[in-house]
Subunit: 407 residues, 2 copies
């Protein structure tokens, strides 16, 4: 939209453009409802409900990452019944490579393919592609990259990733963006942000040109970029807000910047993004990060931390972080986490789980993953309760130092 | 007992020795009951019930292998509720090294440590120790070996492995034996068998000298050896039968010999071992092996095949063997195994599970392990049903060629 030099627009053109905007908006505006339920008095935290055709999501929410259509080491029924996940994330890059779009389409979409019948959000593949430093080339048209699996060459464009996510069958589709690294030169961040904005227009257009792939709504979330530069973040947030999609995301954070930058940028952007749309902070973070960012107005989170760290024996609890490999647990036969909500927390002992990690047994990774995800889901659920009770800020301030200590 | 030159025994000594034998027998004879329920008319197959202090085991039975106190990639509740395992196996060698006896004893035994409250059988560690070719030395006294974990030196003797299994808390303790390889020279097999017999006496004595470690019975199963030599197997089976333990095992098979040798030796030994004691064929085998050996009078089996092969994508079904990595399954969205008894069989599709193996996702190993174990437990359970109905032999003859075909 920025590319149209409005100053030269004749009245007819303005009219046509407005009609076009209304048309585009009307396609999406009712496809995913978000209701803000309660606003915290002492912070910008709020509770809400996102309504999708695969069910409701109570916010704030954490979305377990199911990279290749599987949340690693966790069964689908465990995700649903024990962990109480309400939405999971899939990675477009991974799914595009394997099993590939042909298989997913034949299956009738990812929900049918993996048996997860609640909402799915897919990233755009951008983040993964940029992680392939050295084997990818970014141009205005899109990104050429080499598969990490077999070295084959592929191109992602804003249009192709929309088509890809349509085929995957995501309920929430993410716009194609460039995720800048940290640190990032101002000039690069600015240039990159503008390209992300141009790509967004192409994504919006592609969404408008294409239909929901299966029998349910698919909506687009645009992504704010701008590295850690306030003016860029402001510009980007304004641009993203103006596109008027059913939800908005903040990208390019949690890439190595200090927590102060993370919180500063999140606050700045949250204050610009519309209140009546869910705000999704991508790739964040530690339990403390999540509570702090809920306080800033974030509604949705995803991160590989609970599952990846679990596979290496790091467990998150209300009282802090446990390194399960530590010899101190070798004869601690108390329950894994007496405060935990999952059955693994009461069924297995610390000593047994320590033994499993010590001997590199797969069951250790399974137990750790269930525990950590159940903990993350408990954390956002409890944040929701506290907001409802009006006690969120006190609770958060008590929890944050506790969550980060090493046990 | 063979070592006492009976010809020289004075009447008083004979009397004392008999009293001793009765005493030793009386300790064990009532500690584990076995009831033969039904004998097949056309084969030597039978059904029975083994009664232990951790519950009953309906035979024929397959015992999932839980090497280090965990059946790899399977939760305890899955083993019990979905797979319907009635007894699992633990490996003394692995448990002795990690977590070590101090931890297991402190926990109150392996059942308490890993949360499995049904019966546990432990091997003697012999098989594992012998597998450490080059890093172990076998002498009359016992075996000196190097840990595969840290290279430290350890000694297992018949006495120490009894003590170790007492501490692990096995319901069924295996005698310390030498498992000869295949092929094996006659002279070596003979010498080894005699040492195994002498070691058995030491195991029997140690069992008599020591008490049940926790509040339940622990019984000893001796092991028939003799490689593939009929005269040695006969001698060994007679010796093992004479020891009059509550159950008897056949070792040294399934080590690379042809199926004919496996079946020939099993038949020969089964005919000598007492009918009123369960017969356990160690480390066997394929689904077809299991049915053939049930027909020869075997009641108990264990094997790593269902779990190990599952982790590599090989699934066993009623209709044959599936290599889940095969490209032919890539768009087969039918249930993993429509005939399967586990929830994974109906919940997940072949295409999805193929994708999981293709991408080396842990969930593939989890699904495969549950499927294969549930299949093995179904197989022995169905064998039991068929014996009860008097249709076992017909059913077995129909199943065996089916089970072995590649799908």
């Amino acid at each position: 939209m920025n590319r149209i030099p409005t100053i030269f627009l004749a009245p007819l053109q303005i009219f046509t453009y407005l009609i076009y905007c209304i048309f585009v908006s009307s396609i999406f505006i009712n496809k995913m409802d978000f209701i803000v339920q309660q606003q915290d008095a002492l912070s910008k935290a709020r509770t809400g409900i996102i309504k999708t055709d695969h069910g409701e999501i109570k916010t704030p929410i954490f979305m377990p990452v199911g990279t290749a259509g599987t949340v690693k080491a966790v069964h689908q029924h465990e995700l649903k019944d024990d962990i109480k996940a309400q939405i999971i994330l899939g990675n477009t890059y991974h799914l595009y490579l394997r099993p590939g779009l042909e298989i997913i389409e034949k299956a009738g979409g990812l929900h049918k393919f993996n048996g997860w019948d609640k909402p799915i959000l897919t990233d755009s593949g951008g983040y993964q592609v940029y992680s392939l430093a050295g084997t990818r080339k970014i141009k205005e048209e899109g990104v050429k990259f080499q598969s990490h699996v077999d070295g084959s060459y592929h191109v992602f464009t804003p249009e192709s990733v929309i088509d890809t996510q349509r085929i995957i069958g995501a309920d929430i589709i993410m716009a194609f963006d460039e995720c800048t690294p940290f640190p990032c030169e101002y000039d690069y961040a600015k240039k990159s942000m503008h390209m992300t904005h141009r790509w967004l227009e192409r994504c919006v257009n592609r969404m408008a040109e294409t239909k929901d792939k299966y029998n349910y709504s698919q909506v687009l979330f645009p992504i704010v970029q701008g590295s850690v530069y306030k003016d860029l973040r402001t510009q980007s947030a304004e641009k993203i807000a103006s596109v008027n999609m059913p939800g908005n995301a903040i990208g390019g954070l949690s890439v190595g910047e200090p927590d102060e930058e993370l919180y500063g940028m999140t606050e700045l952007v949250c204050d610009i993004l519309p209140k009546d749309k869910p705000r999704y902070l991508m790739g964040v973070g530690t339990p403390a990060n999540i509570l702090e960012c809920i306080a800033l107005g974030i509604d949705m989170f995803d991160c590989v931390m609970p599952t990846r760290n679990a596979r290496h024996g790091t467990l998150f609890t209300k009282n802090g972080i446990i390194n399960m490999k530590n010899v101190k647990w070798k004869d601690d036969f108390s329950p894994l986490d007496p405060d935990g909500t999952s059955y693994v927390d009461s069924f297995y002992s610390k000593a047994y789980v320590r033994h499993l990690f010590h001997t590199k047994e797969i069951l250790g990774m399974q137990i750790g993953s269930i525990h950590n995800l159940a903990f993350y889901l408990w954390l956002v659920g409890e944040a929701r309760n506290q907001i409802e009770k009006g006690t969120f800020t006190d609770w958060k301030n008590k929890m944050v130092p506790q969550l980060s200590q090493k046990l």
